[in-house]
Amino acid sequence: MAHATATAHTGEHAHGHDHEHEHESMKTFGFWLFLITDCILFGTLFATYVVLRGNTSGGPTPAELFEMPGIIAETFILLTSSFTSGLAVLAMNRGRKNQLIGWLAVTALLGAAFIALEMLEFVNMVHEGATIATSAFLSSFFVLVGTHGLHVSLGLIWMIGLMLQLRKRGITPVTKRKVDVICLYWHFLDVVWIFVFTVVYLMGVM
């Protein structure tokens, strides 16, 4: 990188932790690249679902199976959690540690509520005889929606760990980068859910 001259030609970059800051922002960029590959992973699962969703093999069809009230609740819960994770970043930028942890806790609670509703939905489906082995449509459905749910669950564990670390160490360049990164991850999961909501559920019941 030709950034050796950067400090010389920009006057406002005179603060001492310049090198460290550069390092953290490269890590954030690396995480962005991970999100792009995750995007491709989900794209592949979406392609599989769209191709297979007509193959119900005599089993239940999307229209018979999906119950919209639960799905709508899940959608608005996840949208709200995306917003509250943004409020956490705002609190962090103002240097308010407790407020930051508080908003992260709200986000985690909303995420947990989302996962609980999704598990309830899966359990109900299995009770109605719609399992992953029933048809190609249900296999691709459970893999796509389940992968998203797994991402949210991992995000939850990660967020709880980060909240503990924040309480111990406060807002440092390193914990700041970690909060930025998990919020990126959370917004990304919200984006994926919007497409699950549209392609799987809305198109399934229309």
Binding site: E12, I40, V51, N93, F197, L202, V205
Partner: protein, 109 residues
Amino acid sequence: MGQTKAASDHEHKGHGSFTAYVVGFLLSIVLTIIPLVVVLNDMLHRTGTIVLILAAAVLQFAVQLVFFMHLKEGENAKWNIMALILGLIILLTIVAGSIWIMTYNAVAH
């Protein structure tokens, strides 16, 4: 396009304001309610509905990127956008290619 914004953002690193988050949140709610209402009330014919709900989802993607994920801000903005475009090209190729070959060439097998 992101360059001028990134340059002006350079002096202060505190990206994202409360207003931007609220606007983004409201837009995402509106963009969720519109397709929901249209689908649940059968307001349009099939093709129209599909176009409308996909457009709403893509718009919502853009809202999240700009208002929440700060796509156009920060010093890495240009690289973020380039990586995103590459990812989207691969993604669209996979999705559109799969649908095309599995729908229209199914007869060939």
